[in-house]
């Protein structure tokens, strides 16, 4: 099947919202697009990077990506940036003033809300930014709409001199639906930057002049949403029931209540209140179905509509899929509601794990074996260190927060914590994103934090994207590689307090942590092995357990490597009378990459590389398992 990248006009393809938006950005004649990876928005810029006519980049963080887009717009090029919902918090400083300035060429920001928290630290509603910054919010519900609305968003941006937000959710970004391509790229003349301090230099004097312009723009947009074809009424036969909804929730409503009248808001802010009021008059119940917060509902209530329902019957967290929606609305209508089907099977959980041979396993093994330590964490794969078997991460808040939080824990500690060491764990990409400033704060203010900088040369959690610490750009071309040792020294960490360790060499990792946490000044321990998902990672000969020598100590299981499996357990009574459970293990040679980490804690030294003979035998074993 063709991808959106290859498709010609009138061709159909099965694509995600992320792929659809990339195609639309290309067609809209955009010249510059920037992003920082973040689920569920990551693939947008990856798809865009296929189009050689557009300049695309991984920016160091979302604020910079927005500023790059602003600059390109000022230079007269249509510009685009994409980010996940929490990325917008980072970008918001630039954003809240850009809305005053307006745009030169069209500028669109795609913000992807992780409704349902598939891979995020919070669930926030990016539609607030429309209210906060007085600009338009468009909300597609599938790939076709994403494609069409994105192209329209650039027109809207130029027509009203405003940045435009396309609000996506996980169920738009990561659902594949059919897309019919409607056109090809239209090149646009780049008008150039026109110096105009009153417009582009936001001093108090200039900004004060822009404020009324912004509010006048909002009023014009409000009038416009009343007539926008993106806000359309699906007239139903049920005179009782009406809905106001947007995004994927519209599809859930239409599926559950095809007979109802449904006002679908594709252009959801400013809200078309007259249209909504008119529908309210025609039905008994007007139900607002919005993911996730009570925004439209509040505005509708404030406009004097009385027969409105919303978060009084629906949850303000997670998706409003038909199985959530239907029982709530049926109950409102006085219908009998049957009990939800529940899974009666009591089953173990299967939380996300770190990968086989992940270079973070060793450092977490070491942290888990430290006493008297508080460990502040950060956003990335290594957040999983909070889970089993390590339980070695005590906080996770926002990108880069491990630094400031560690420093605050140090400065705010009472006598009860006087002997505790404080370790901040952060990855390379997160450190460059927003961690550096925190480290400057620690050194500048004479803090006492041991930073464990897990440099795996990738943005691991989102799939191993390149970053400035890797020496490769978005297009996998060679570029400068940030030298972390020089960087942290320049940020004020003493040379002798900077150590580079191989994360698979457990004794060295443990020694470095032990020593640095004892010294009352900032130190940085940098690990230096790549993520197993990136090209630079090389597998070695897989390991095996010599079963007859395994004593069941279970130390290898403490690494958390998912290639190690328990074959059987035994309970023995130790000389002191205590019972001890033994766990005898095997290694799945199909997935083991021979990283050797598990050989380090193995008490009887019974984990060894497979020999050529073993590897041959492995094949024979497989043969003998003839399916019956």
């Amino acid at each position: 099947m063709t991808s959106a990248f290859n498709a010609k006009k009138d061709e159909r393809c099965l694509v995600s919202g992320n792929e659809a938006i990339a195609r639309a950005v290309w067609e809209a004649g955009v010249n510059v697009a920037a992003a920082y990876p973040g689920t569920p928005s990551t693939e947008i810029i990856e798809y865009l990077s296929q189009y050689s006519t557009i300049y695309t980049e991984w920016s160091v963080n979302e604020k910079v990506s927005l500023e790059v887009a602003i600059g390109a717009s000022l230079a007269g090029s249509r510009a685009f940036c994409a980010m996940k919902h929490v990325g917008m918090n980072v970008a918001s400083d630039a954003f809240m003033t850009q809305t005053l300035m307006g745009v030169n060429a069209g500028m669109v920001i795609a913000v992807a809300d992780d409704v349902g928290l598939s891979s995020s630290q919070n669930e926030q509603d990016s539609r607030y930014w429309g209210r906060f910054a007085h600009l338009p919010i468009l909300e597609p519900s599938d790939s076709q709409e994403t494609y069409e609305m994105t192209k329209y968003a650039f027109e809207l941006s130029e027509q009203f001199d405003t940045p435009v937000i396309i609000r996506l959710t996980t169920r738009v970004c990561h659902v594949k639906t059919l897309l019919t391509i409607q056109g090809e790229r239209i090149e646009r003349e780049v008008g150039g930057f026109k110096k105009d301090p009153d417009h582009w230099v936001m001093t108090p004097v200039a900004a004060r002049k822009r404020l009324p312009i912004m509010f006048a723009r909002e009023q014009k947009l409000r009038d416009h949403t009343e007539i926008s074809p993106l806000n359309s009424l699906h007239k139903g036969t049920d005179a009782k029931l009406g809905f106001v909804t947007s995004g994927p929730a519209f599809l859930h409503v239409l599926e559950a209540y095809p007979q109802a009248s449904i006002l679908k808001l594709g252009f959801s802010h400013p809200a078309p209140l007259e249209k909504i009021k008119s529908l309210a008059k025609q039905v008994d119940y007007l139900v607002v179905v919005e993911e996730t917060e009570k925004l439209l509902e509040t505005e509708i209530r404030a406009s004097g509509v009385l027969n409105v329902y919303g978060k009084d019957i629906l949850p303000n967290i997670g998706e409003l899929s038909p199985n959530i929606l239907q029982p709530a609305v049926d109950k409102l209508l006085g219908k009998e509601v049957s009990e939800d089907k529940k899974n009666s099977n009591k089953l173990f959980p299967r939380p996300p794990t770190m990968c086989v041979a992940c270079p973070h396993l060793g450092p977490y093994f070491a942290l888990a074996h430290m006493r008297n330590v508080n460990i502040t964490g950060d956003i990335g794969c290594y957040t999983l260190g909070a889970g089993q078997p390590w339980n070695a991460l005590d906080t996770c808040i926002s990108m880069g927060a491990s630094m400031g939080v560690a420093h605050g824990m140090d400065k705010g500690r009472g006598d009860i914590d006087s002997k505790k060491a404080i370790v901040a764990v952060i990855g390379d990409s997160t450190f460059l994103h927003m961690g550096m400033q925190g480290l400057v704060d620690i050194t500048y203010n004479k803090g006492n934090v041991t930073v464990l900088l897990l440099d795996n040369r990738a943005v691991g959690m989102t799939g191993g994207q390149n970053n400035p610490g890797m020496g490769k750009d978005l297009h996998n071309q060679d570029t400068v590689r940030i030298n972390f040792v020089q960087l942290v020294e320049a940020l004020g960490v003493k040379k002798e307090r900077i150590r580079v360790v191989n994360p698979y060499e457990l004794p060295n990792v443990m020694k470095a942590l032990r020593e640095e946490t004892k010294i009352a000044e900032p130190s940085v321990i940098i690990t230096n092995e790549p993520c197993v998902l990136v090209d630079a990672y090389e597998s070695r000969v897989p390991l095996k357990v010599v079963a007859e020598d395994c004593t069941g100590c279970g130390n290898c299981l403490d690494t958390g490597c998912p290639a190690i499996f328990v074959t059987h357990r035994e309970t023995v009574v130790k000389p002191n009378g205590r019972e001890k459970e033994l766990a005898f293990v095997r290694i799945d040679s199909d997935v083991c990459t021979g990283c050797n980490l598990c050989t380090k804690p193995c008490a009887p030294d019974c984990i060894i590389p497979m020999s050529g003979k073993d590897l041959q035998q492995k094949v024979v074993e497989f043969r003998s398992q003839e399916p019956k």
Partner: protein
């Protein structure tokens, strides 16, 4: 022969563990349905959930698909890449649903650490009275064929006769994928598909 041709929308739940190829299998089912002129929607997961965690993809097709989500109790077919994961999603199935399971037990670290138990035999715990269940060790067959990634093709072969279109549609989709990307693997995938298909023949005729 049990098919679901009369239903307006066909709901297929593909379940497994991050990294097992759940998304690819769902993609092939979705594309096969498109080849037959259906409207299709398919959900995906990315980010943290993919790291060895529980993963599902909802594939829905029919004349016109609205919501991309299969409602609990409405899946016509489940294709599960791991035994316990079939049990985890049992409540998503409607009565008379078809369930095809790779009877392969993959214990997560929390089980190996002794914190939770893995069921002795997850398949035996499935309620057989109201559904049609087929299971076999597709991983063992893939090993026999010399490439563990073939589990995907084997499972698609197993499900291919339960779809509202001919099995060859799925088979051709797989073959043309490999012809474009890895032509050397066409023959082995054809073999894997046919072995999977043969595995579900007995339950089809029962």
């Amino acid at each position: 022969m049990n098919t679901i041709e009369n239903h307006t929308i066909t709901n297929i739940l593909v379940s497994g563990i991050g990294g097992q190829g759940v998304m690819t299998a769902a993609e092939i089912l979705a594309e096969s349905a498109i080849d037959q002129g259906f409207d299709v929607k398919k959900t995906e997961v990315a980010g943290m959930a993919q790291r060895g965690g529980v993963v599902t993809s909802h594939v829905r097709f029919g004349h016109k698909v609205l919501s991309p989500i299969i409602v609990e109790g409405q899946a016509d077919i489940m294709l599960s890449f791991e035994a316990a994961e079939a049990l985890r999603w049992e409540h998503w199935l409607k009565k008379e649903a078809v369930v095809l399971v790779n009877n392969n037990h993959l214990e997560p670290p929390v089980v190996n650490l002794g914190l939770f138990d893995y069921p002795e035999d997850p398949i035996a715990q499935l309620n057989t009275s109201d559904k049609i269940i087929g299971y076999f060790d597709a991983t063992a067959i893939a090993r026999e064929l010399g490439n563990l990634k073939l589990v995907n093709t084997i499972m698609l072969g197993a499900v291919s006769d339960f779809l509202p279109f001919p099995a060859e549609v799925v088979r051709n989709n797989i073959i043309s994928r490999f012809q474009q990307r890895k032509p050397k693997l066409v023959a082995i995938n054809e073999q894997a598909f046919d072995m999977g298909r043969a595995k579900s023949e007995t339950i089809r005729n029962s």
